[in-house]
């Protein structure tokens, strides 16, 4: 307790040290139930506490005066807008009765909050894509730190926490939590994480950070696009493969047709041989008829003309034979050529099929890689 006669010395002491207390401090002398004197540090001040302010009867300070004993009280945020520790020391008169109290008020700040402005700017710089670091109390955003690369402009100091927000859930569950949020909420896809901060086993605040997920999201989208493109390519290649086997089938049927054509041209040759035989026979008939006509003398003259015509006719039919033979020979040559070409197209298509298989194998590898890439992108 402080004797009333010592009060001035205490005031001098308080005024001297006030600005040297880290985190700030406020001194006040309550005379009866009214503040008679205050000294606050530059760093910390409770605006309500001014000279003339009458303090409530249910306060620790009033209890100190009533009970004439030193009381240390933690005041929750709900009372003065911030959490405070108030030490009240009774001030007694010469007869030992408490007539007032000297109150020493400290801001009660979580260590993380106390150093937030020191570490948060550094921490925010450490992230490659930038980061937004925040701290909330139980109802609103208390500290914020943007990095040059990344900011969350919609989150300001004083922004209320809603039941949808991760800090609310963390406060409720008392567990660290993380969440991915697509661009529909903040305009950019973000990853947000929040940790509960405890004091005496009670959650008093949350600390967390927002990380931009633009690169990871782009990467994931690209990986998905890549997979889609690859499956498109795979489908096209399958079509190629089936086309190659169709070429193979066509080539075989073409070869069969060619063999048939060769058979048919051989049959034509047989027919032309037959024509030649008939022509030879007819020619001999014509010649013999001419001989007979000559023997018949004048009477056979007309018959001789017929005989000559028969012979000419036989010559004509015979002359078609080498033409037919040449034609069938040409057919055989052309057909052989066609056969060779179709063979070469077959071998080309087989080479193509082999190349296609190689491509398919490569595509499968790339496909597997793109799946892996999508997985990695999801984990980012």
């Amino acid at each position: 307790m402080i004797n009333l006669s010592e009060l001035n010395s205490c005031k001098i002491l308080a005024e001297t040290i006030a600005d040297y207390i880290p985190g700030g401090i406020m001194f006040g002398y309550i005379d009866g139930d009214t503040i008679a004197w205050v000294k606050s540090s530059q760093q910390f001040n409770v605006e309500l506490f001014t000279v003339g302010y009458q303090i409530g009867a249910d306060t620790g300070t009033m209890q100190t005066i009533r009970e004439n004993k030193t009381i240390i009280q933690d005041v929750p945020r709900s009372v003065y807008g911030m959490r405070l520790s108030i030490i009240s020391i009774p001030v007694v008169n010469d007869s030992g009765n408490a007539v007032g109290a000297m109150a020493i008020v400290f801001p009660k700040i979580h260590p993380v909050a106390a150093s937030f402005n020191d570490f948060a700017p550094i921490l925010a710089e450490l992230f490659h894509e930038g980061a937004f670091i925040f701290m909330t109390d139980l109802t609103q955003v208390a500290y914020r730190q943007a990095s040059p690369k990344f900011d969350m402009p919609s989150i300001a100091i004083g922004t209320k926490i809603t039941t949808d927000d991760l800090p609310y859930k963390v406060i409720q569950s008392k567990q660290p939590m993380e969440q991915e949020i697509d661009e529909s909420k903040y305009g950019v896809p973000v990853y947000v994480t929040a940790y509960p901060l405890f004091e005496d086993e009670d959650v008093v605040a949350t600390f967390g950070l927002f990380l931009p997920k633009v690169t990871a999201t782009n990467l994931r989208e690209m990986a998905i696009n890549l997979e889609n493109s690859l499956s498109g390519i795979s489908a096209a290649i399958e079509e190629l493969t089936s086309a190659a086997s169709e070429i193979h089938t066509n080539e075989q049927s073409l070869n069969n047709s060619i063999t048939e054509i060769i058979d048919i041209s051989e049959q034509i040759n047989d027919v032309s041989t037959f024509i030649k035989e008939i022509a030879d026979e007819t020619k001999m008939l014509g010649l013999n008829a001419a001989i007979e006509a000559a023997r018949a003398g004048d009477a056979g003259r007309g018959f001789g003309v017929v005989a000559e015509e028969i012979r000419k006719l036989s010559d004509q039919s015979k002359s078609t034979v080498p033409q037919i033979t040449e034609l069938t020979h040409n057919i055989t040559l052309k057909v052989d050529e066609a056969s060779k070409k179709s063979h070469s197209s077959l071998s080309a298509s087989q080479e193509q099929a082999a190349a296609t298989e190689e491509i398919t194998a490569s595509i499968e590898e790339i496909s597997a890689m793109s799946t892996e890439l999508a997985k990695i992108a999801k984990q980012l």
Binding site: K283, M284, L287, N288, A290, I291, G304, E308
Partner: protein, 146 residues
């Protein structure tokens, strides 16, 4: 100026003509020719023409021409020599041709005698020369060794 018909046939590259009045008929070379013993090489043998046995000679052999394989185009020209028929194997019989007497050139008699030839003359048709056979001389020639 008269003209007469000739049966034109070939022996190798050359064309020959035989007056049609000596020609009996033209047939294919028979498959079966019966060989005769002790005969000159140019006599192939005999064969049966509708009941008559007639000798066959190979004119190319007789004329000492280069031989070639017989083929389907070879013909047997049956010559009527009055009292006998003679089959002659020729390469091909091509036509019956009306030949102007004017186009026939006689060979020099010296040349004929040197070769003891049975060539009666040469028919000059411009782009082709046809040797005309004298059938009767041919008969003499063929059988002179007999």
């Amino acid at each position: 100026m008269g003209s007469s018909q000739y049966v034109i046939f070939s022996l190798g590259e050359e064309e020959y003509g035989l007056n049609i009045s000596y020609a009996q008929e033209i047939i294919r070379v028979p498959d079966q020719i019966t060989k005769l013993p002790n005969m000159p090489a140019f006599i192939d043998g005999v064969f049966n023409l509708r009941g008559k046995v007639i000798p066959i000679i190979d004119l190319k052999k007789r004329f000492d021409f280069a031989q070639n394989e017989r083929n389907a185009d070879n013909r047997l020209l049956v010559i009527d020599l009055g009292n006998m028929l003679l089959g002659t194997i020729v390469d091909d019989v091509s036509e019956v041709l009306m030949v102007d007497d004017a186009s026939i050139e006689n060979l020099y008699s010296e040349m004929v005698s040197i070769g003891q030839n049975c060539i009666q003359g040469i028919c000059n048709m411009g782009d082709r020369l046809i040797l005309l056979l004298d059938a009767l001389k041919l008969k003499e020639e063929v059988f002179q060794n007999n």
